[in-house]
């Protein structure tokens, strides 16, 4: 089944989706191998990956990563495109680029554009008026080519304007044509309440390491509360960052590798399996290596 169909079916069949954000083909493959139902590409990780920060990322950079990840996995991929890179016309181009790049879904949020780096500083977001966001969502609907391509909206209004306005926007965005809405409740009570007040499927974004006390849900909690998606937005980067830094520092400090030769052989085989070397060996054996 195509990733777009998998996601469309999941939405219509009430299937719960465990999502993690990858930022390249390799981490995407690792997540798929581990058993995630779906992948995301998020701005925070990609912005850090390129050392530009999310608000300075270009659409082209996100589309390029989308192509890399989408062609390397078979599970659906949703791509966070920030504020859609501008006004309705820019949003339309953004949707077309990301759909053409092979994503199964796209997310556009109601933050201001150009985005400001300050929103990373304890979520000091600035949001646009709801009616402007509704125009953007209508532009998304107009731009989509494949009707199975899923349009997700994200509201940051629970932080900027409070829970009630956040919920109002969720339902407004669903009415305008968004099929899933990503939300950021401020407290556990809000997180529990939101799915009861929303008229459509909600996507909970776990911002691990957030400094504002925003709840990080377990899978059991997310299901119990009534969310349809639970995503780990930056866990890939945090865990890789820790592991790689430990490895580097150990080398510099001791002059020796942190990983033993036996262990390294096992890991290397894993890496090669994720890359898909075995299949390529088979093809070469049947062709060029046969001669």
């Amino acid at each position: 089944m195509k990733p777009t169909e998998i996601l469309r079916n999941a939405i219509t069949s009430d299937r719960f989706m465990m999502v993690t954000n990858a930022y390249d083909a390799f981490t995407g493959r690792l997540a798929q191998r581990a058993g995630y139902d779906m992948l995301g590409i998020g701005g925070y990780q990609l912005g850090s990956h390129l050392c530009t920060s999310e608000p300075l990322l270009t659409l082209t950079e996100i589309a390029e990563t989308t192509r890399e990840v989408a062609r390397s996995v078979s599970i659906p991929l949703t791509v966070d495109c920030g504020a859609g890179f501008g006004e309705p016309l820019h949003v339309m181009r953004t949707v077309r680029e990301i759909e053409a790049a092979g994503a199964a879904a796209i997310t556009i949020e109601d933050q201001i554009f150009p985005k400001r780096v300050h929103y990373h500083r304890d979520y000091q977001e600035r949001t646009i008026p709801a009616d402007e966001m509704v125009d953007k969502i209508r532009a998304m609907v107009q731009a989509r080519v494949n009707p199975d391509f899923i349009l997700m909206a994200r509201t940051d209004a629970m932080k900027t304007e409070g829970f009630e306005e956040g919920i109002r926007r969720v339902n407004l965005y669903l009415d305008a044509g968004a099929e899933v809405v990503k939300i950021f409740p401020n407290t556990l009570d809000e997180a529990k309440l939101a799915p009861k007040k929303a008229k459509g499927p909600l996507y909970y974004v776990n911002g691990v390491g957030n400094r504002v006390g925003r709840p990080v849900l377990t899978r059991a909690m997310a299901r119990e509360f009534g969310y349809r998606f639970l995503s780990d937005s930056i866990g890939t980067l945090l865990s890789l960052s820790r592991a790689v830094e430990d490895y580097y520092r150990h080398w510099i400090k001791t002059g020796e590798p942190l990983i033993s030769p036996e262990e390294a052989i096992k890991i290397r085989k894993d890496v090669e399996d994720v890359t898909g070397l075995e299949e390529m060996y088979r093809i070469e054996e049947a062709t060029t290596e046969r001669r």
């Binding site: 608000p55 300075l56 270009t58 659409l59 082209t60 501008g86 006004e87 016309l89 820019h90 150009p114």
Partner: protein
């Protein structure tokens, strides 16, 4: 390919020298590497890449074009010709931080200079029909200040452009005010008009009111000879669109003819002559020489 190419540093120094001498320049607009090669082949000293042309080349339109796309096209040209390349850096692709990234990316790409304007960002497609909006001068001053400080190479040229002459929020007085502010901030070149068809009386009057000794860049239109602009005090005249316009027109004519007549509108000699222009521009014979000396020798 065989001749030694000028380094990025040499190209920028060259442009800086031309500007310091207030040299009267004709700067043709390329829209890809091949058109830039043709321009270099004609002996021009500098080449230009506009935003309009990249937007047209990619069919996205300029306001929907990304920084990465403009950098990519600029990089093709930088690799293809060793002339100083001036690029349209639009509105810096955002706020101050985005403008800093814009300067860094273009400088890293090997471009010799960019122009930055006071249009709103995100840019709107309506500005192509003259409906244009500009940001407050204080915001623009901040952008330019940070753009100037963001360069590593002091010979990387920052051209200040104001669209106040025709923006909804602008006026002639505002154009003069913004131009003086840009000069005061230390831009290397001033570009006081956003299009190739400003009212000529305004163009003339502007140089009588703003008499500063600073290189002035203007987009040349079809109505006037280059000397007209030079004589009015605009030493850098860019012909930014005629390349892509006429190339496109030729493609349209040729395929229209093939569609109608089921035959090329060129004879054998004309076809060979056209081919020779392209193959000369991409230096095919240089590659043949290398192959003859290496892999083809072994056969």
């Amino acid at each position: 390919m065989q001749e030694k190419k000028k380094t990025i540093t040499e190209r920028r120094k060259k442009l800086r020298e031309l500007l310091q001498r207030r040299e009267k320049l004709i700067i043709p607009g390329a829209y890809d590497a091949l058109s830039a090669r043709i321009i270099k082949g004609l002996g021009f000293e500098t080449v230009y890449l506009g935003g309009y042309t990249t937007g047209a080349h990619l069919t996205t339109t300029e306001p929907l074009m990304t920084l990465t796309e403009q950098i990519e096209v600029a990089s093709w040209i930088v690799r293809a010709v060793d002339l100083p390349l001036i690029v349209d850096g639009d509105a810096g692709f955002g706020d101050v931080l985005h403008t800093i990234r814009t300067v860094e990316e273009f400088e890293y790409a090997g471009v010799a200079g960019i122009h930055l304007e006071d249009q709103v960002f995100p840019k709107r497609v309506s500005y192509h029909k003259g409906l244009e909006h500009i940001i407050p001068l204080e915001d623009f001053e901040e952008k330019i200040h940070y753009a100037l400080s963001a360069r590593q190479d002091p010979n990387f040229i920052i051209i200040g452009r104001t669209d106040a002459a025709r923006a909804v929020e602008g006026s002639y007085e505002e154009l003069v005010r913004r131009s003086r502010a840009l000069i005061k901030l230390g831009v290397d070149v001033l570009m006081p008009f956003p299009s190739s068809n400003p009212p000529m009386d305004m163009v003339r009057r502007f140089r009588k009111d703003v008499t500063d000794d600073i290189p002035m860049l203007i987009l040349g239109g079809p109505e006037y000879p280059t000397e007209e602009y030079w004589n009015m005090g605009y030493n850098m005249v860019i012909y930014h669109l005629i390349g892509i316009f006429t190339a496109t027109q030729t493609i349209q004519r040729v395929f229209q003819a093939i569609k109608e007549n089921h035959r090329m509108p060129l004879n054998v000699e004309e076809y060979a002559a056209a081919r020779a222009i392209v193959e000369g521009a991409i230096s095919l014979s240089d590659y043949w020489t290398i192959e003859e000396k290496t892999i083809e020798k072994k056969k």
